[in-house]
């Protein structure tokens, strides 16, 4: 039986969080739970809830100056919960940096633009299929 998949969304832009959460809940056919976090720190605090997928914004300190950066949060996740798939989100201008994060253990990255929601939907579906395969050997 297909299980529930837990997704964490981390972004300091409330609009993006709302849009992504709504979009995923509507469009992903699997049983998912989406939790949203405005700060990386809060996300790291709740890794014990065993998220399967973490969508992480690269810049997290627009509002709170001293907030942890996306790179640091990624490092924390890789250390504490290496099995979680981390999808980095970044603007077009720091795409190169985003690619760099792949080397630091991110699963994939998304450029923030008009297409990012569709792209995320695709990635989430892909990851869930991979997980199913791993777990059931289908």
């Amino acid at each position: 039986m297909a299980r529930n998949y837990k997704i964490f969304l981390v972004d300091d832009d409330i609009k993006t969080l709302i849009m992504l959460k709504t979009h995923l809940e509507k469009r992903i056919g699997h049983d998912i739970t989406v939790n949203v976090f405005a700060y990386g720190e809060n996300c790291l605090d709740r890794l014990n809830e065993e998220p399967d997928i973490i969508v992480l914004d690269y810049y997290l300190n627009a509002i709170k100056e001293d907030a942890m950066s996306g790179t640091d949060v990624l490092k924390g996740i890789v250390a504490a919960r290496p099995q979680a798939r981390v999808v980095m989100m970044s603007g077009q201008d720091d795409m190169e940096t985003a690619i760099e994060t792949l080397r630091n253990g991110a699963y994939d990255y998304i450029i923030k633009n008009e297409k990012s929601m569709q792209r995320l939907e695709f990635l989430v579906n892909k990851i869930i299929l991979e997980l199913e395969k791993e777990e059931h050997g289908v």
Binding site: D13, K15, I18, H23, I63, D93, M95, N113, M117
Partner: protein
């Protein structure tokens, strides 16, 4: 005595008995005959009833029998008709003639006119025969009504007349000939066509009319084979020997045995028509070759312009290096010679475009003063060099903005002024611009270019605007030029509905007067800031990442090195063709693409299409660099999705301007110049007012996919957050906290996307980049002001939208 009496009586009795017997026999016989006769009569009547002819049987003048058709024919009752005499059937005025005809024994019929009971006449044929009738001599008369026959006959006569008339009056020549070609009949048109008399023609053979005897033979064979020909083209000859191209349509005449006994036909002279056709063909050919010529010239100009770009560009770069005075002089020489060469190429190209009707005039708003001051700038050095005075007088009343083609107006004035400078050795060149007439919409402006030069001989004045003419052949050597300048100038003026005229006195000087009408433009509609060279140096383009797509190595060097001088933070990447460019654009963010049009592998248009459609980079500015200087090419660059174009060889000033305009440094604002600030803020307000909606919520709507609750939530957040985020940017800008400004600007980009303010994306991006690189920090404040202005309008719109949503 009794006995003889009795005997007498007995005899008489016997006599009576015999007589009675005989009488009875006779009676029986008579009854028999009468019975027969009755049968016959019945039979006759039955027969004659069905007949179409009237039948009368008569003796002497007494009518014995008539049939029903006769009664019908004459419109009498049977009883009435029996009272008539035969002669009374004939119309009175024809009776005499009819009697005369009837007496001719050799003829058993005649035609006459009969008369009906009501007095109407009808033509009739009467046949007569003597027949015995019941033992008496009788005649039978058969009367046929000829009314219908006569009509047909009349029609036949009429149609014959018609054909005769056609034959006589036809404008085409008509002939009838025998089988060997002897002419049997010709109409007046044929006589006129060939110039013979009727007698001459009827005594000659058609063979003599042919220019080529073999054509006659061919025609004859075709006729025998096909029986007729139509529009058969032959060469015929008039009496005076003139040859004519004619069309011959003919049919054969045959006898009852179907043997050909001759021909009849129509001849039409098509010499004129053929000549017209030939002219039409020649015209089409000439037009096609003119188009080919124009195409050839356009291609040639492209071929010449490409190396010219390298020559001029590199000379330009060389001028900025350290050189000895001698070297400098040589380099300046190369530069002015190549400039001159470019003018010649442009002249030839313009001329061919005008000839081919391909030159199109623009209709845009522009500042007349700017055009005039540019012209004055152009000649500043040249005039100083020749120790001439250059005087520019501008009428105060001239409208500041007019609508027209500034490039072509500049070309007209440049040509006239450069001629004036060229042909003047001492004294002055003066350009006077006056408002001629003016109404609400239009202004007619007079441009006078006067010099104190060599002047033009009076007999040459008329030819001065002709192609390839200079006043003297020797002038060409002395003064150079294609001799096309004034022709082009005149054509350009005429294309704009203007006039050019001149006054000249040999040895004293020449004055050209140009009068052009322009529509008046709106004041303040022009915002294009023109950069001078000093401004270019003082205002580096800032941090830019450009991609130059160009297959020609020399041109790559020229373009790269030219741009590099405009700022130390300009990063330039190179792609040698469209395919390579697409690969690079996929990987790297560029502020601008400079795209050559003609390239191997993917060309500029294809690459642009790919970038726009497949890579979805709709906002990425693409500047086309084209060596094709035709209007068509320019349009093509724009329609293929490029933002603007510059023609090679490019003027560095123009390139700077276009790059500045296309990258977000749209205006280099001089904070110390309040006029500039005003101009820009004016423009922004205008921009906001032009569009009904500055926001485009379609992305948001698409994203919420009909979820109104979600849309409401998003709108509320944006209405609430946007002013806060802008306030933060302002705050950090004033605190000079660049790192924070960068972070907020970065975040703000997603708001801009949700609001659909695509034009603002670049501006915010630049705020972020400036803050990150600590560049153009003094102008960043203006960018923030622009963002604020637009976003506050956007918030208002979103509030309206929210109200609407909540109402529902």
């Amino acid at each position: 005595m009794l006995a003889p009496l009795a005997a007498e009586l007995e005899y008489l009795k016997e006599e009576y008995r015999l007589l009675k017997q005989e009488n009875e026999a006779l009676y029986r016989q008579m009854v028999e005959v009468e019975k027969k006769s009755l049968e016959q009569e019945i039979k006759f009547n039955q027969l004659s009833k069905a007949s179409f002819e009237g039948v009368i049987i008569y003796n002497e003048d007494r009518i014995i029998l008539v049939n029903h058709t006769l009664c019908r024919l004459f419109d009498y009752d049977l009883d009435e008709i029996k009272q008539l005499k035969i002669i009374e059937f004939i119309a009175p005025e024809h009776r005499k003639e009819a009697l005369a005809q009837a007496e001719q024994t050799n003829k058993d019929w005649f035609e006459t006119v009969c008369i009906k009971s009501d007095g109407t006449h009808f033509p009739a044929r009467i046949k007569r025969k003597f027949i015995p009738h019941q033992g008496v001599d009788a005649s039978v008369m058969v009367i046929t009504d000829l009314t219908n026959d006569k009509r047909v006959e009349q029609e036949l006569i009429q149609s014959e007349l018609l054909y005769q008339k056609l034959f006589e009056e036809s404008r085409d020549a008509i002939y009838i000939s025998g089988v060997r070609g002897e002419l049997l009949e010709v109409n007046p048109a044929a006589l006129e066509l060939f110039g013979y008399t009727r007698e001459e023609m009827l005594s000659m053979n058609a063979q003599r009319l042919y220019g080529n005897p073999e054509e006659r033979e061919k025609f004859r064979q075709a006729m025998q084979k096909q029986g007729s020909v139509s529009n058969y083209e032959v060469l015929l000859v008039k009496k005076d020997g003139t040859e004519m191209h004619c069309l011959l349509s003919s049919t054969t005449r045959r006898n009852a045995q179907m043997e050909i006994i001759g021909y009849q036909g129509i001849i039409r002279d098509i010499t004129e028509r053929k000549r017209t056709d030939e002219l039409v063909r020649a015209k089409a050919l000439a037009e096609r070759s003119a188009v080919m010529k124009a195409q050839f010239l356009a291609n040639m100009s492209h071929e010449i312009r490409t190396p010219m770009n390298a020559v001029m560009g590199m000379t330009h770069l060389l001028q900025d290096t350290h050189m000895s005075a001698e070297q400098k002089r040589y380099v300046n020489g190369i530069y002015s010679a190549s400039e001159h060469l470019l003018v010649l190429i442009n002249d030839i190209l313009d001329f061919s475009k005008i000839e081919a009707g391909k030159l199109q005039l623009e209709s845009i708003e522009f500042s007349l003063r700017e055009v005039l001051s540019n012209i004055a700038d152009t000649f500043k050095f040249k005039v100083r060099e020749k120790k001439l005075d250059f005087i520019l007088n501008i009428d105060e009343q001239l409208p500041p903005v007019i609508v027209g083609d500034p490039t072509r107006l500049t070309q007209i004035l440049l040509n006239l002024v450069s001629n004036a400078v060229k042909f003047t050795e001492k004294g002055k060149v003066q350009l006077d611009v006056r408002l001629f007439t003016e109404d609400k919409l239009n202004a007619t402006i007079a441009f006078a270019v006067a010099d104190t030069g060599i002047g033009i001989e009076p007999d040459k004045v008329d030819f001065i605007f002709d192609s390839f003419s200079q006043v003297n052949r020797s002038d060409t050597r002395l003064y150079g030029g294609t001799g096309l300048g004034l022709t082009i100038t005149k054509k350009l003026i005429e294309m704009q509905g203007g006039t050019i005229s001149l006054k000249s006195k040999l040895g004293e000087g020449t004055t050209f007067l140009v009068v052009l009408k322009f529509e008046k433009g709106a004041v303040g509609s022009i915002s294009n800031h023109k950069y001078t060279l000093s401004e270019m140096a003082a205002n580096p383009l800032g941090r830019l990442r450009l991609l130059i797509v160009e297959d020609n190595e020399l041109n790559r060097v020229v373009t790269t090195d030219t741009i590099k001088k405009w700022g130390k933070d300009i990063v330039i990447d190179i792609a040698e063709n469209g395919e390579e460019a697409v690969k690079k654009i996929r990987k790297t963010h560029y502020d601008l693409i400079l795209m050559d049009v003609q390239m191997p592998k993917m060309n500029g248009y294809e690459a642009t299409q790919y970038i726009r459609k497949t890579l979805h980079k709709t906002d990425l500015p693409i500047l086309a660099m084209t060596a094709y200087a035709t209007t068509g090419e320019a349009e093509k660059t724009i329609t293929s999705g490029m933002n603007d174009y510059i023609s090679k060889p490019f003027d560095p000033k123009k390139l700077y301007q276009k790059i500045a305009k296309l990258t977000s440094k749209k205006e280099i604002v001089h904070l110390d110049n309040p006029d500039d600030m005003e101009k820009i803020s004016e423009k922004r307000i205008e921009k906001a007012e032009t569009y009904e909606h500055i926001t485009n919520l379609s992305f948001l709507e698409e994203s919420v996919a009909g979820d109104e609750e979600l849309k409401t939530k998003m709108l509320e957040i944006m209405i609430n957050e946007t002013p806060q985020e802008i306030a933060l940017m302002e705050k950090y800008y004033h605190e000079k906290n660049w790192e924070r400004l960068r972070a907020v600007a970065h975040k703000f980009k997603s708001s801009v996307v949700y609001m659909g303010l695509s034009g603002l994306k670049e501006v915010v991006q630049n705020i972020q980049l400036n803050a990150e690189k600590h560049e153009n920090l003094d102008t960043t404040g203006n960018l923030i002001a622009e963002v604020k202005h637009t976003c506050l309008l956007a918030v208002q719109e979103m509030q309206e939208e929210l109200k609407k949503l909540k109402k529902n």
